[in-house]
């Protein structure tokens, strides 16, 4: 990734509402202003996010592969040691591509937290669970359900879920899973679509698990590089993500189920579904942009058209989220914020304690930092798409630069609506 010279010398300045940000993107920057404070916030949050994410991806795969259609999945968040020891494909000595220089098994801070939780006391796992002194998988499930609910966001993975081939694969797995259980098999024969829909959702469990398996080591490595002084600007952080996206783009997305000693390939690797197009882009679209209105923060009246009739126009993702009222119990982003709170680096703890209400509203402050960091991730995705689909930033052809310009303007049009936080994150005192 190269940092370009300003293209405004060759094409007229943008007249877009976000012209300054567009010029910054054209210069190889991010939507997030390049300040040391912003860098510290986003890197600290990447690290705090990566630790629970290391749990999320393992648990998502566990549910997709092992829990599967268990009708009473009361212990689905009780991750067996086998999955904590599962080697990440992008960390450790035996990595396919070693993104993080750390170990391949679960992160040490995560293991410590699983043992003692926030209470710092080793209690029966069930007590930690019921007390919510644990990693909140509810957030991860809310994300995958957003992906599953919006569907049709491009790629081949989603249409594949409606094919006969997929149904046949799922059918084999379902029958194998319920072998010897005539009640469930009877139910399956009565309501096959209900079971198939459950399996489709489980395929999204696998999809998101495989997506986050990549992102966790990326964030860990960024944090380490920042600590070593090797990432010193916001564009450098963004470019690390862009490079990571291209390095990992072809990673297969699949869904395997393990029943007994057998592996059932509901979505085989051979289908060639790629990480970038089948997981990363749908994830960004569904979670960063769309999702659905957070329950409990506002009453939406669909009949009064307070909710867009077209799902494409949903705008309730983290890039639009009003983090202030989200700090209420039971709302998934709050649960993520709660998870991240346990793993904040010391410099970020000190930083938050200096502003607003210090410890009392740290959840909100880190939520805002998370929003900043996700604008940086989105910038990386936009730059990656521009790289893949359009022209280099230092292209000398003014028509190519104009095509880039139009692409950036088109992307930023999505932030024109008043709910978008793009304007807010330009201000350092938005906390």
């Amino acid at each position: 990734m190269t940092t370009a010279t300003l293209p405004q010398n060759r094409i007229p300045p943008s007249t877009h509402e976000f012209a300054d940000i567009i010029h910054r993107l054209e210069a190889g920057g991010s939507m997030l202003p390049d300040t040391p404070e912003n860098l510290m916030q986003i890197i600290g949050i990447y690290k705090a996010y990566a630790v629970p994410m290391d749990f999320y991806w393992r648990n998502l795969l566990y549910i997709a592969e092992r829990v599967f259609l268990n009708p009473l999945p009361a212990f689905k968040y009780f991750l067996p040691q086998e999955y904590l020891d599962l080697h990440n494909h992008y960390a450790g000595d035996d990595a396919d591509i070693r993104i993080w220089r750390g170990e391949a098994t679960a992160h040490p801070e995560l293991l410590e937290f699983i043992q003692k939780g926030e209470l710092k006391q080793k209690l029966p796992k069930l007590l930690h669970h019921l007390w919510h002194d644990r990693i909140n998988m509810e957030f991860a499930e809310a994300c995958l359900r957003a992906m599953f609910w919006h569907r049709g966001m491009g790629g081949q993975f989603d249409p594949y879920l409606d094919t006969d081939e997929y149904k046949a694969n799922a059918d084999r797995a379902i029958r194998a899973f319920f072998r010897g259980n005539p009640a469930m098999l009877g139910l399956y024969n009565l309501f096959p679509e209900m079971f198939l829909e459950q399996v489709r959702e489980l395929s999204y469990y696998a999809n998101l698990g495989l997506f986050w398996e990549v992102m966790a080591p990326v964030f860990f490595e960024m944090s380490d590089l920042y600590d070593e002084g090797k990432i010193s600007t916001v564009p450098e952080a963004m470019n690390f993500l862009v490079n990571g996206i291209f390095a990992i783009a072809g990673r297969p997305i699949y869904h395997h189920v393990y029943i007994g000693d057998e592996c059932y390939e509901i979505i085989p690797k051979s289908k060639g579904f790629m990480w970038l197009y089948e997981a990363a882009l749908p994830y960004v679209e569904a979670v960063f942009y769309r999702t659905s209105p957070f329950r409990g923060t506002k009453s939406y009246n669909a009949q009064a058209k307070q909710i867009p009739t077209d799902q494409n126009e949903f705008h309730y993702g983290i890039l639009y989220a009003d983090v202030f009222p989200v700090g209420s119990a039971g709302i998934p982003p709050t649960l993520l914020m709660q998870d991240m709170l346990h793993f904040l680096p010391p410099y970020l703890l000190d930083y938050y304690s200096q502003y607003c209400r210090g410890e009392d509203d740290m959840l909100i402050q880190l939520g805002i930092s998370f929003q900043r960091s996700m604008y940086n991730v989105t910038s990386a995705v936009i730059q990656a798409l521009r790289t893949a689909l359009l022209y280099p930033l230092d292209d000398t052809n003014s028509k190519h630069l104009m095509a880039n310009r139009q692409f950036f303007e088109g992307q930023l049009d999505r932030f024109k609506r008043p709910e978008a936080r793009l304007r807010d994150i330009q201000q350092q005192d938005y906390r």
């Binding site: 923060t297 506002k298 009003d322 202030f324 009222p325 700090g327 209420s328 607003c356 209400r357 210090g358 009392d360 509203d361 959840l363 909100i364 807010d424 938005y430 906390r431």
Partner: protein, 512 residues
Amino acid sequence: MLSTLIWFPVLGAIAIAVLPLRQLKLAALTISGIALLWTLWIAHQFNFTNPLLQFQEYLPWLETLGLNYQLGVDGLSLPLLMLNSLLTWIALYSSEEEIERPRLFYSLILLVSGAVAGAFLAQNLLLFFLCYEVELVPFYLLISIWGGEKRDYAAMKFLLYTALSGALILVAFLGLVWLQGADSFAYDALMGQSLPLWVQTVLLSLVLVGFGIKIPLVPLHTWLPDTYVAASTPVAILLGGVLAKLGAYGIFRFGLGLFPEAWATLAPGLATWATVSVLYGAMVAIAQKDIKRMVAYSSIGHMGYILLGGAALTALSLVGAVTQMVAHGLILAILFHLVGVIEAKVGTRDLDVLNGLMNPIRGLPMVSALLILGGMASAGIPGLVGFVSEFLVFQGSYSVFPLQTLLCVVGTGLTAVYFVILLNRTCFGKLDNAIAYFPKLEWRERVPALILALTILFLGIQPTWLVRWTESTTTAIVATVPPLTQPTIASVNRPVNSPQTVGWVVPDNSIK
């Protein structure tokens, strides 16, 4: 014993003003705290089955003028004494740590407390008048120095209105003594006066207008919104919580007490006046955009219930009226305190700007929760002290003035309307991100509200603790007044079948 309640705060005020103390707020809190404990001890010693004056004190002073130092407490004044002591402590606690000119501020508050206690205890009309006027100057200074916007205007308006109030009361007192030919302003000596009914009515009218300004009743109220809004939070608490009660107390003690027959004659008019105040206060409150002004107008409405209870003159309604004085003092104090906190944190009192304060992390959830409790208490929701007092007033008044009572019940409904507006806009909805960087609540902001809230709740579920002080005294008062349904003529004789001792005004020599 009773003198302590007057002189301890006054001496404390002098000490704070002149001694080289460092922790001025702590010193003021200690002084008012001791006064509060002393009041509670008196309450503990108080025989609430006895309707007569208790703990009387007498010192000859200017006997040629008929001015003597006579104090006493009964079921009418004791609850208000407790209210005064509690709200003084609350006002001091809720004051800012870094207030300007702290010596003067704390001294004036304590001076007000002592003067108000003196007015509640005085059993000599001139002594009452002195105490009544003494608190005027400290309040004027408290508003004009530590007030908000338009404080000079508000302080001057307050001064003029209350000076007129004092003048009218003085004229009434002098008229009573001169026309009666009495040689003393002693309260008990002026009881049972033999003036013609029309003279009584004129004098009572002067008393009603004089104290009506202080309460205030419509249309004598125009000083109130400006003054309450301009006053700082501690001063607004004392103005609404204590000073207004002084007006209501004065009407009962000196209007009803000295001119019972004229009172009985005017009672239907008083009930109608009360109803107009209730409805006017409520409807104007609904139209307000400033939450402090809304609370101020609500005060006008709620003071009307007190007059209704007094006008109906049944044992129950009069207990309700006294109970309403206390309930209103507590509720208004918590509302003014919370409005003050909101203004200090958010920087505005504008209903169109405030929103979403219930937000659990970035909002003011505790303030919002207590504001809801205060609003519910004011609207007379069962389980809170406001319900007890309003229920007693309505229950006691309906048989005498059914129409006025029903209209006042409508006023309670209107109270619910403007509090729903206030709470809905202030506490609920979406917190505006652009302004939601409020500082954290401090203890001085939490503790007063919590104490008041717990008191409102406790007295709401255990109203006996509120009415038992008053019941025997108010029953005795009612017994001194001729029935409203009979034609009333002026008489020196007490009504047939009334107690030999005229209730709460005859000294009880057995109690020292």
